[in-house]
């Protein structure tokens, strides 16, 4: 066991992937000499060389497109997109090429490409640096999407993404990069495409993922002071979504709040609400309530605290759920 930050855990996970399989390589802007703008790949170029840790030209479509070509040659590229809002020049390659390769080839070809994207707000940054575009990718069949919320998951889930035969997008909660936790490098965390119940409760369930998991846990602790027993689920995987774990919880608690930073409209919360209402309609004591961003481009940094779901927004949603 070692204590490390999420950023360090991903670094160690990438290091393990590079060491385990000579076909893996990292690609991205400024990931080599600099170690990435968040230093997540710090030191890897020094240890594995320029052919395995590639400082790419500044072109996201180029990064994803060449990664697909490398995968066709038998490699396992791990791409870094510098910020969430900069993935869109690569969106075409991800959705029209990477996601569809297996279907187009009638199952003959795989594209085991990993795309790491630091995402989410709360870092006081400028435009395009604080977005949560996961729903745009979740809507695309052929992709898998995971998002770790703690160092232990981060260390293992990045490695599991690398060994997965399907393309995997790893959304990394950038404002939690320095969140510390225990990492057991000898104990894999199991299926990365499942949700984890982090806190048991009996009266309501809060589903969150990525950067909002600590917020959900804090909200549950606050609710407990009001005598409400709130269960917290870390979704971990956004595609596929582990509806079994969520549904099982809601059947026990009767109430569900889903929280994410992304705007609620057309989002992951809506999908979970729909599925749960189909699967556990008679168990629901209240409508599923979504907590998320508003239907606006991500706001300027000076007001992002008001925009981002926080403990109070989750508690307010719980209040509404308990009002039924």
């Amino acid at each position: 066991m070692a204590t490390m930050t999420i950023a360090r855990a991903i670094n160690e996970g990438l290091r393990a992937s590079l060491a385990n399989d000579p076909k893996t390589l990292l690609m991205g802007e400024d990931i080599g000499e600099l170690g990435g703008v968040y230093r997540v790949t710090d030191g890897l170029k020094k240890d594995f060389g320029a052919m395995r840790v590639v400082d790419s030209p500044l072109a996201e479509s180029g990064i994803i497109g060449t990664a697909i070509g490398l995968a066709l040659r038998g490699y396992r590229p791990i791409c870094e997109i510098q910020f969430d809002g900069f993935v869109f020049p690569g969106f075409n390659q991800i959705t029209t090429q990477l996601a569809k390769l297996r279907t187009r080839s009638d199952g003959m070809l795989s594209a085991p490409v990993v795309i790491r994207i630091p995402y989410g707000g709360g870092i006081g940054s400028v435009e395009h640096h604080s977005e949560s575009p996961e729903a745009l990718f979740a809507h695309t069949a052929g992709l898998r999407i995971i998002t770790p919320s703690n160092p232990q998951d981060a260390y293992w889930m990045i490695q599991q993404a690398v060994t997965c035969e399907d393309p995997v997008i790893v959304f990394e909660p950038k404002r939690r990069y320095w969140l510390k936790g225990e990492v057991d490098t000898g104990a894999p965390v199991g299926d990365p495409f499942t949700a984890h119940v982090l806190r048991r409760g009996t009266d309501a369930t809060v589903v969150a993922y990525g950067p909002l998991v600590p917020v959900a846990l804090a909200a549950a602790a606050a609710a407990e002071e009001d005598g409400r027993s709130v269960e917290v689920i870390d979704l971990r995987s956004i595609s596929p979504i582990d509806f079994d774990t969520v549904t099982e919880s809601v059947i026990r608690t009767g109430r569900l709040v889903v929280a994410h930073e992304a705007p609620t409209f057309g989002g992951i919360g809506g999908e979970i609400a729909a599925r749960v209402s189909e699967r556990a309609f008679l168990s629901l004591e209240a409508p599923v309530i979504r907590v998320g961003g508003f239907h606006m481009p991500y706001p300027v940094a000076r007001v992002e605290e008001q925009y981002l779901p926080d403990i109070d927004r989750i508690l307010e949603a719980l209040d509404r759920a308990f009002a039924y």
């Binding site: 497109g65 060449t66 070509g69 040659r73 297996r102 080839s105 003959m108 069949a141 399907d166």
Partner: protein, 406 residues
């Protein structure tokens, strides 16, 4: 002979001519400085072919197959067969047997010449029009029609032929070609005994405007990737002429990326083959990428859904027909005494059988089960797909008694 006459239905001629004058079209585009050629439109073979490329004098003699008679005949055969394939496919589309067809008539030399220049270990990334290249890579021509029949989005195993699936999103495949070439580089570092190889990125003058072409050339140059960019400039991106895509010959763009660019007469199969052989050797031997612009003409429509009479002059088409890639090689083969009527008649007979077999193959292609499509989305089990498959099976089984969806 040679694919016959193309339809030249003319209406709104005045309008098209007026628009063409405004766009500066209809002018002589044959006199292209620096365009490499060994077999001219009249079927006359030049003594040799040399060019100054990136400051070096290149003599293409080692790459030319002009003195290899059986090879010349086989090049003609490939071009003839793929033109016949094109005609049969167009007919199949017109008869409602294909959803769409993308003709290649006029571009046979560019495709057969470049395809035949490749070695087995090279890997081609086509657009959706590279039927001639497919032929040279050993793809069954009927397999191509599976996509246009609507029974698959692929059609063949790319790894068996080193010929990737058709890519319909313009220019996307150029980055795949560069990435693949980066993989070749790494493989050869790990195992220098591997045969030297390169990838070939096919694209057209229309796609040259796409950002992915720019990014692929930047990546290729940055990493000295063993890739040949093969641009077929067929003059028209559906209705927009290449003069709207570029103000300089496309081959010249290579200079901006820092690697050689060559314009070759795309209707001269011998020149195309030689230039591509040279470029592949350049790439394979670690000297980096090359851009080839094969200057040609789409003698037919963009697709069977297109109507070229709306936007281009029939005079242009007529003029280009005098530069037909098959006709000029036929003229040469006859004048050099390398082929006679018996050869051409025999080939026509072979093509008739091929077309007939092709038609039978297309008519026997049946739709896949939608059920089978669930299995091709992900490589590993995916609970949502499995759940939806179970629903679909259950839903379908509800019709079993009625025999409607059996």
């Amino acid at each position: 002979m040679n694919g016959g006459r193309l339809p030249t239905a003319e209406f709104e001629v005045e309008e098209v001519e007026r628009a063409a004058r405004t766009a500066g079209l209809g002018q002589d585009r044959q006199a292209e400085p620096g365009m490499l050629r060994i077999l001219d439109p009249e079927g006359r073979l030049a003594d040799g072919m040399t060019a100054e490329i990136a400051g070096e004098l290149v003599d293409f003699a080692p790459y030319l197959s002009t003195s290899d008679a059986p090879h010349l005949l086989s090049l003609y055969r490939d071009m003839y067969l793929v033109r016949r394939f094109d005609q049969e496919s167009t007919a199949l589309q017109r008869q409602g047997q294909l959803a769409l067809w993308v003709p290649l008539t006029g571009q046979e030399a560019a495709q057969i010449g470049s395809g035949r220049a490749m070695e087995a270990q090279d890997y081609a990334f086509p657009t959706y029009r590279e039927h001639g290249v497919a032929l040279t890579r050993g793809v069954e021509l009927s397999e191509i029609l599976r996509l246009f029949r609507g029974v698959t989005n692929g059609g063949w195993d790319p790894r068996e032929r080193n010929f990737h699936l058709y890519t319909l999103v313009l220019a996307a495949q150029s980055l795949h070609a560069v990435g693949y070439a980066m993989g070749i580089q790494r493989d050869q570092l790990a195992d220098p005994s591997l045969p030297q190889a390169a990838s070939v990125a096919y694209f057209g003058d229309g796609a040259s405007s796409e950002g992915d072409i720019h990014e692929s050339m930047v990546f290729a140059a940055s990493f000295d990737a063993p890739v040949v960019f093969f641009c077929q400039n067929n003059q028209w991106a559906i209705s927009v002429p290449s003069t709207v895509q570029t103000r300089v010959p496309l081959a010249k763009r290579a200079e901006g990326y820092g690697f050689p660019g060559v314009r070759v007469d795309g209707n001269d199969v011998l020149a195309v083959e030689a230039v591509t052989r040279w470029a592949l050797e350049h790439a394979r031997t670690g000297r980096g990428p090359v851009l080839i612009e094969a200057y040609t003409y789409r003698m037919s429509a963009h697709t069977t859904a297109d109507d070229p009479t709306k936007y281009r002059l029939s005079g242009d088409e007529q003029e280009w027909r005098t530069r037909d890639p098959l006709a000029r090689l036929e003229t040469y083969l006859r004048s050099a005494g390398l082929a006679n009527d018996a050869f051409f008649e025999g080939l026509a007979g072979e093509a008739r059988v091929m077309a007939s077999d092709l038609r039978a193959a297309v008519l026997s292609m049946t739709a896949p089960d939608l059920e089978s499509r669930f299995a091709a989305v992900y490589a590993e089990p995916h609970p949502l797909v499995q759940e939806e498959l179970r629903f679909f099976q259950q839903y379908e089984s509800g019709f079993a008694d009625e025999g409607k969806h059996a």
